[in-house]
């Protein structure tokens, strides 16, 4: 059927039209529940919905780009902090994922006793749903009641108020995030490494190459496409990874770990004060634009969609 692609449009239409019928429900879902809500969010971000101070939530007006203008120019600029945090969160996490994943995969990719046992045990964090384990981690990081400080004092280290200082709050987030994700990265890299032909390494050994040289000249080039792929996907995912931040730091202390998606949620549905829907919508839109740009760059610069388009 592949040769169909060379046929004329009309011929293909006549032969392949049932596809449209199969796609009707999905197209409706995509338009009504994806495209329309996105457009609606853009519209709300151009109004004073919830921020106009008119008393009634239903009386709101179109105010153009005023929200965006204020966000960029106001003194205590929240937006710049959010951009910075979102990138720290995504780039920092991905760097750690790659580092830990590559390291452990390299170690596991040797003939060692108990390899399967190690691999199976390491995969266990994956078995429990992330929402549940993040909530437990949130409890573990607490100053007075958390098990982590209790363990630290057990070995003579004075307790750390993890969530009250920006640096330690980030540390808590990154450690939790690595725990959540390293099994996936390790398994992916290990699977890729095992697909590298063994004779390449043997030939290199004969030529007198050491372990490091083999890693740099054989393993890394082979892993490159995988590293780029999972790195970019991981970046996109983490950029909007809501639960670790929402459940562990709630963006605090202050705004120091707040990202777009958690700030937007807080503005719209947070406790206290009236819901600032227009600001929430604006942060969603900015977040959306970042994701769109990154996605387009990903599609253009990698052959990630090769399998999907064939």
């Amino acid at each position: 059927m592949a040769d169909l692609r060379d046929q004329t449009l009309l011929y293909r239409l006549r032969r392949e039209w049932p596809a449209y019928i199969y796609l009707v429900p999905t197209i409706v879902v995509l338009l009504v529940l994806n495209a329309y809500p996105i457009a609606y969010t853009v519209y709300i971000s151009l109004t004073d919905f919830g921020t106009g101070g008119r008393g009634s939530l239903l009386a709101y007006h179109y105010i153009g780009l005023t929200n965006y203008y204020l966000a960029v120019t106001s003194g205590a600029s929240v937006s710049w902090q959010l951009i910075e945090n979102s990138f720290i969160w995504a780039a920092g996490s991905v760097a750690l994922f790659l580092l830990v994943g590559l390291g452990l995969a390299t170690v596991l990719n040797q003939q060692i006793f108990g390899r399967t046992v190690y691999r199976t045990l390491m995969m266990l964090p994956w078995a429990m749903p992330a929402f549940i384990t993040i909530l437990v981690w949130a409890n573990m990081w607490q100053y007075e009641t958390g098990i982590i400080n209790a363990l630290l004092s057990e070995v003579g280290i004075s307790p750390v108020d993890w969530l009250q200082h920006p640096t330690t709050a980030w540390a808590a987030l990154f450690i939790t995030n690595v725990w959540l994700s390293f099994p996936f990265y390790t398994v992916v890299f290990l699977a890729t490494m095992q697909a590298i032909p063994k004779d390449l390494y043997e030939a290199a050994s004969i030529d007198g190459a050491g372990g490091l040289s083999k890693f740099v000249n054989i393993t890394l080039p082979f892993l490159r496409p995988t590293i780029i792929f999972v790195g970019l996907m991981g970046f996109l995912f983490t950029f909007n990874n809501f639960y670790p931040i929402y459940l562990i730091t709630s963006g605090g202390p202050g705004l120091s770990t707040q990202i777009f998606i958690t700030e937007s949620y807080k503005d719209a549905f947070g406790l206290g004060g009236s819901p600032a829907f227009s600001t929430a919508a604006m942060y969603s839109v900015i977040d959306f634009l970042f994701v769109l740009v990154i996605t387009v760059v990903v599609i253009w610069t990698t052959d990630l969609t090769r399998n999907w388009l064939k």
């Binding site: 239409l13 199969y22 749903p129 995988t226």
Partner: protein, 290 residues
């Protein structure tokens, strides 16, 4: 001679280092899980828990936390579980049905506009579901779908369609066209061939997609928290767990949090254990191939 002994020492040191790294990684991976299990069987205050976690004492092992969760929660655990199953089950079923048709159309037809459509759902699939919460809330509040079952099932199903559709499509791509052609030769129509021949072959990927489509709503807090405000009888497990674990009050009852976490994870963990090879394989396949 001396040189050879030096080499051997290096080899042993390497082995020791390797195992040290792997043991450290396993401890890191396992500690929170171990902590959850041990703590769920105790009712000790935090000060006493550390010692108990390090050296569990049998005299402190109790099922009291489980008893409290199962019999004295309000809304009851059974009610939370039933609601979670209703939401996640319907979303997985509806989402999967749509995804099967989508995958079929995109994989086995060369219709005009196919490329554009694939790009479209690809871009949609990369967008975070969380930014949909606000527009959904405002739209659904207008038509009175807040605090209703339907109101939450709709966005959950929509979330499942796109990702599952791509999974099914990729899997169907790997099924040779000859199989469908043979069915057509036997006098079946394309729809018939899809239901009778292709779909049964896709069962493994449909299982994986159903599992993923189920987990999303099952562990969703952000959307449920906004949509189910006034009516606790419709609350889900995720909302129940959040309320028990809420760190704002400063009085965590570790026993209750962890016992709830275990009960809520149990179905997922059981499924994961049973099909582990399969789930990991299915999810990493795209990445490894990438």
């Amino acid at each position: 001679m001396r040189r050879r002994r030096g080499r051997r020492a290096i080899r042993i040191a390497k082995k020791v280092a390797t195992h040290a790294i792997l043991i450290a990684a396993c401890l890191f991976a396992l500690f929170p899980i171990y902590f959850i299990i041990i703590t769920s069987f105790s009712t000790l205050p935090i000060a006493a828990i550390t010692a108990h976690v390090l050296v569990p004492s049998p005299s402190h092992l109790t099922l009291a936390s489980y008893h409290t969760i199962l019999y004295s929660l309000s809304p009851s655990f059974t009610s939370l579980l039933t609601n979670s199953l209703i939401f996640a089950g319907s979303a997985a079923a509806i989402g999967l049905g749509l995804a099967a048709f989508t995958g079929f159309a995109l994989s086995k037809f060369q219709f005009p506009g196919r490329r554009t459509f694939v790009y479209f759902i690809l871009i949609i699939s990369l967008f975070p579901g969380f930014i949909m919460i606000l527009p959904f809330y405002l739209m659904f509040a207008k038509v009175g779908l807040i605090d209703s079952y339907i109101g939450l099932i709709i966005p959950y199903s929509a979330g499942a369609v796109v990702f599952s559709g791509i999974l099914v499509k990729n899997y169907m791509d790997s099924i040779p066209d000859d199989i469908e052609e043979a069915a057509l030769m036997d006098g079946m129509g394309r729809t018939q061939a899809f239901f009778r021949v292709l779909l049964p072959l896709c069962l493994p990927v449909l299982g994986l997609a159903a599992f993923l489509a189920f987990i999303g709503p099952y562990t969703d807090y952000a959307l449920a928290n906004v949509f189910l405000t006034a009516d606790p009888t419709k609350w889900t497990l995720a909302l129940g767990l959040y309320n028990i674990a809420n760190t704002d009050t400063g009085e965590q009852n570790y026993g209750l949090v962890t016992a709830f976490a275990i009960l809520m994870s149990l179905p997922i963990v059981a499924f994961y254990m049973a099909f582990q090879r399969y789930i990991i394989g299915g999810l990493t396949l795209g990445a490894v191939r990438g």
